[in-house]
């Protein structure tokens, strides 16, 4: 089928986006709307002595100014993470207020909301809000936050430690380490990144006739509705309608409900007019949730032949000043599910200390915990290969979990269901011409440049929440409508799901209408994140479609005066098995709307339950090849190869696009991107100039291919593709750079690999850059 699963079908959503007529939240303007601006804390840490709003209230055009005292009826922003330490103590999760209460804990924390007649008036007035604090020492560094004498952010708790998460068996690790012929240690920084979708956050809140309506970019409107209704407003779910129009990228941040969205609703209810807020970029750097930010020490024990006996991984994870919605879940359970990644590790001990610091809260960022887990193992493998004098591919070969051992239960009790790690790696090595590297290295050497090649193998555990819902309806004209709880914000679900339905029903692609992101229609859904949409939404859509066909079969049987068992379905036609009579899908849909057939029409809602604790395991091998100018530290990516196993590829065009995007984000983290707070807690990276994201000129052509190993646990065989690139690229790139620098005696370097860092490494200078 031309538009079915597996075809490179162009996207249905594109025409509006390429003509400038896509409707993003900032393009939404309601009659008589007011504008909100946020006054933010310029202080990283302090007790609030006073907030003087008089001048702001008196400013031109100002309608209202709110501080925490004015919104006492509202709850805080909740954290969804539920986890306990080994002793059974729950993670300490402090209240995260919409507007600062009592203390400010990071630069950019919202202190007051100012509503005025124009955006400029609101912003000008917000600058007049006077915040006075008694300064407290800022805690920025993770090691400092963990120290016994550290200033405590949340005094009632007594320390900055939210939870000490442990997994595995420390005694077994000790025994493995004692018996080991080799021990390999790495100390790693997984740098803090700013997810920075290109659309700054925006919200339009409108309260009318007892109902709240929120226009807000998101990764799933239903989840936002739940948080707003239950945790923040304490109102019935149906009293809040969330509409997410086009959403300009997510990468994790839009799974969060940020305070500004709730504040527009609050202000609209109080003022009787719609209220719009639109953040600018510098505000986004201060107030979009950040990603990553781990310090990790890892220790690998190996036998004589380079086979791993065990690993110990100890991480300090930065939560920021409060828990985001997923905060402590990301570095612990999310990454922990694949701890040890694709390798057989007889013993494992995993320890994560989640700490509060005076920085913007950290949340999910593309991969959320999995890239960090993969980075640790891939650096360990390369370091082991170096120390043992074994090939970097060979050491992986000796330690991969073989397909024959699957399903393979890892140390987190997660069952890795499928994957051909060695075969996938071999495909990548071949496409990258790993074997021919030496020739290319010599050529670079002749030009005075250092060349290196590196490998990053990743595995993810994907799927997120185990339930997802889809509703499929066939209209009397034979067209289909599908409502999903996932939320496409660039992934192209409108296309992919239509492909699945086109296959299921045998109807034309353009007869399928797609609805998402509006809670007036979407009654359940986990949204998009964790590479879950094709496997979760996709299956819900497929099964709902199949349910509709079955429903229709019963109707068709009656129309054809026969038994359902004698009715076949193909390409929008129900036929008797002897082909003596037939009725179209449209006719059946029309009949189903009559009283005779109950009048409900031909529709089915399917809630797919994958089963708690089960996941899919996208995996892949990425190879980066780089050249470094030792005199300036400039690194050039010469070649990049990705071979991914995302299970069945629904649409190669879209899947490759996900790989490209993930890889470039991963390369951005590895090369350029770094959120920097100075030692006083001031953010130094507040613009696209200071926070460097990759542009087209410095990014390589990415050679993308797939090794489709179908997932055995779902009928589509899909695994997910959204995050693999962000997992594979950082280790591939760093391993390549270290390979290039090996001739200069360099064995360790931390992301991001800025030219200065590479220059220092290449010239034997201290890697300790000036702090801040």
């Amino acid at each position: 089928m031309k538009f079915g699963v597996g075809q490179p079908v162009p996207r249905l959503e594109d025409p509006r986006l390429i003509t400038g007529s896509g409707r993003f939240t900032d393009d939404v303007n309601l009659p008589d709307q007011l504008y909100m601006a946020i006054a933010r804390s310029p202080y990283p840490h302090g007790s609030i002595a006073s907030i003087d709003t008089d001048a702001a209230e008196a400013a031109a055009g100002v309608v209202a100014v709110y501080t925490a005292a004015d919104i006492e009826s509202l709850g805080g922003m909740p954290c969804r993470a539920v986890l306990k330490d080994r002793q059974g103590n729950p993670c300490f999760i402090p209240k995260r207020p919409l507007l600062a209460e009592g203390r400010v804990r990071f630069v950019g924390e919202p202190v007051a909301a100012v509503v005025a007649r124009t955006r400029t008036e609101a912003r000008d007035a917000a600058e007049l809000v006077l915040l006075e604090v008694e300064d407290l020492p800022a805690v920025v560094d993770l090691n400092a936050a963990a120290a016994a004498e550290a200033t405590v952010l949340h005094e009632a708790h007594g320390s900055n430690l939210a939870i000490h998460y442990e997994n595995g068996d420390e005694a077994a690790w000790e025994a493995a380490a004692a018996a080991a012929a080799h021990r390999v240690q790495v100390s790693l920084v997984n740098n803090r990144v700013a997810p920075s979708p290109l659309e700054p956050r925006a919200a339009v809140g409108h309260y009318a006739n007892g109902t709240f309506t929120l226009y807000n970019p998101s990764q799933g409107a239903f989840a936002q509705q739940g948080v707003l209704a239950r945790a923040i407003f304490d109102e019935p779910l149906e009293s809040i309608r969330v509409i997410s129009g086009e959403t300009g990228g997510g990468f994790g941040i839009r799974g969060e409900v940020h305070p500004e969205a709730a504040l527009t609703l609050f202000a609209s209810r109080a003022l009787g007019a719609p209220v719009k807020w639109h953040g600018d970029r510098s505000e986004m750097f201060l107030s979009d949730s950040h990603g990553r930010d781990n310090l990790t020490r890892a220790d690998l024990a190996l036998d004589e032949s380079g086979r791993a006996l065990g690993v110990r991984i100890e991480t300090l994870a930065n939560l920021g000043a409060y828990c985001s919605a997923v905060g402590p879940f990301v570095p612990t359970m999310a990454g922990g599910r694949v701890v040890g990644t694709v390798y057989r590790l007889p013993a494992l001990y995993h320890s994560v200390r989640c700490l509060y610091t005076n920085t913007m809260p950290v949340a999910a960022y593309r991969g959320a915990g999995r890239p960090e887990a993969c980075y640790v193992m891939e650096r360990l493998m390369d370091e082991a290969a170096r120390q043992l004098g074994i090939g970097r591919d060979e050491i992986r070969r000796r330690n991969f979990i073989p397909s024959s051992a699957m399903p393979f239960v890892n140390h987190s009790g997660v069952s890795i269901s499928s994957g051909e790690f060695e075969a996938t790696m071999d495909l990548a090595l071949e496409r990258a011409d790993w074997a021919g590297f030496e020739r290319r290295r010599r050529r670079s050497e002749g030009l005075g440049r250092l060349r290196g090649i590196g490998l990053g193998y990743y595995v993810e555990s994907s799927g997120g929440g185990p339930e997802e819902e889809a509703r499929v309806r066939i209209h009397p004209d034979g067209s289909a409508e599908v409502i999903v709880g996932t939320y496409s914000h660039g992934q192209g679900h409108e296309t992919a799901f239509a492909q699945i339905l086109s296959d299921t029903f045998g109807i034309e692609f353009d007869k399928i209408r797609f609805i998402q992101g509006d809670t007036a229609f979407v009654k359940f859904g986990g949204g998009t994140g964790g590479s879950r949409s094709s496997q979760m939404g996709g299956i819900a859509v497929k099964r709902a479609g199949e349910g509709v066909i079955e429903q229709g079969r019963a109707v068709a049987a009656e129309l054809l005066q026969s038994e359902p068992g004698r009715v076949t379905y193909e390409a929008a036609v129900y036929r008797l098995d002897d082909a003596s009579a037939q009725v179209s899908l449209a006719d059946v849909a029309r009949a189903a709307e009559t009283a005779q057939f109950g009048g409900e029409g031909l529709a089915e809602t399917h809630r797919y339950d994958r089963g708690a604790g089960t996941y899919t395991f996208p995996n892949g091998a990425h190879v980066a090849e780089v050249e470094i100018d030792p005199d300036t530290g400039v690194l050039h990516i010469c070649r990049y190869t990705a071979v991914d196993d995302c299970g069945r590829v629904i649409n190669p065009l879209l899947a490759a696009g996900q790989v490209h995007g993930g890889v470039v984000q991963g390369l951005g983290q590895a090369l350029l991107e770094n959120v920097v707070y100075d030692t006083d807690g001031q953010l130094l990276t507040g613009s696209f100039l200071d926070y460097a994201m990759p542009f087209a000129d410095a990014m390589p052509d990415v050679d993308v291919s797939f090794n489709e190993v179908l997932d055995p646990n779902n009928e589509l065989g899909v695994k997910g593709i959204g995050e693999g690139g962000a997992c594979g690229a950082p280790p591939a790139l760093v391993n390549a750079a270290l390979h290039a620098l090996a001739s200069r005696g360099v064995t360790a370097i931390d992301m991001p690999l800025t030219p200065e860092k590479l220059w220092r490494a290449a010239n034997g200078l201290s890697l300790q850059e000036r702090a801040g």
Partner: protein, 287 residues
């Protein structure tokens, strides 16, 4: 706030001189509008000089090229004769930001921002360019290196604007080049940069040299010792090493997130050396 777009430099100077409150000159606006957005500057009067005929021209004469203060980097990059005569200056100006920024940014604006990291300035200084200034007291001509006096500060007096910049006529057997270092290849601020302008004699020996460094001091530096290090040589290895050493010795950079003192200093030498080789080749020198 008021916006004016006068049609003559004299009129512009008058507006600026008589302005009450903060008055600013708008050429390409790529810096001014960013500073207005952030609130760093809140002007009461904006004088757009792009409607002044003289700011829009590139004039070639026996004395060289007169480049209007409103001429964008993109236009400069398309001017064949200018590119042939002063490739280093054109390349340097074309390095200011992306194509979008090139559509607006100007050499004069780049000079008046008085950023030590301004890309076109080291190349202009190496080229011995002059700024043609118009003010309430009439016209004057100033060497470009005399315009910036410190980060964000210029020697221009109230009411003065730069109407155009003059690049001298290209001497026979001369060539210029500019190189900079930035963390990304596009769209970034120079961490260190070097502009070199050489004139050779008929034997390929450097007769005259001007070497300028950017982003290593509060203003762009004209490094005379660096020029001395290569005059009378054919840029042999010793001369290049002396050039790099003189550049390093002249550096007084800051330490910040973008680059440490150590890095800026050493890379200044590397870039000066590489720029000198390019300039030498452009001057017709054979290595």
């Amino acid at each position: 706030m008021r916006y004016e777009a006068p049609s003559s430099s004299k009129e512009a100077a008058k507006l600026l001189a008589s302005a009450k409150g903060k008055a600013v000159v708008l050429a390409g606006g790529t810096d001014l509008l960013v500073r207005m957005k952030s609130g760093a500057v809140e002007p009461d009067l904006i004088v757009d000089i792009k409607r002044i005929g003289a700011t829009q021209e590139i004039k070639k004469s026996g004395n060289g090229f007169k480049i209007g203060a409103g001429v964008s980097g993109a236009r400069l990059g398309k001017h064949r004769a200018l590119k042939k005569a002063w490739p280093g200056v054109v390349e340097a100006t074309n390095l200011i930001g992306s194509d979008q920024i090139q559509g607006r940014c100007t050499m004069a604006g780049n000079l008046c921002n008085a950023s030590p990291a301004a890309d076109s300035v080291p190349a202009m200084v190496a080229a011995n360019a002059k700024a043609n200034v118009v003010g309430p007291g009439g016209r004057r001509t100033v060497a470009v290196e005399k315009i910036p006096t410190g980060p964000g500060k210029t020697s221009l007096k109230k009411g003065e604007i730069i109407e155009s910049i003059t690049l001298p006529a290209k001497a026979p057997r001369s060539g210029d080049a500019y190189l900079r270092f930035i963390p990304r290849t596009e769209m970034d601020i120079a961490v260190v940069s070097a502009g070199v302008n050489l004139t050779l004699d008929s034997k390929g020996v450097v007769k005259k040299a001007r070497v300028a460094l950017g982003a290593v001091a509060p203003t762009v530096l004209l490094v005379e010792d660096a020029a001395k290090a290569i005059v009378g040589t054919k840029l042999d290895d010793d001369a290049l090493a002396a050039l790099a050493a003189a550049c390093e010795a002249a550096c007084r950079p800051i330490d910040d997130m973008r680059g440490t003192i150590e890095f800026r200093t050493e890379v200044a030498g590397v870039l000066a050396r590489r720029a000198a080789l390019t300039a030498y080749e452009r001057a017709g020198g054979k290595k």
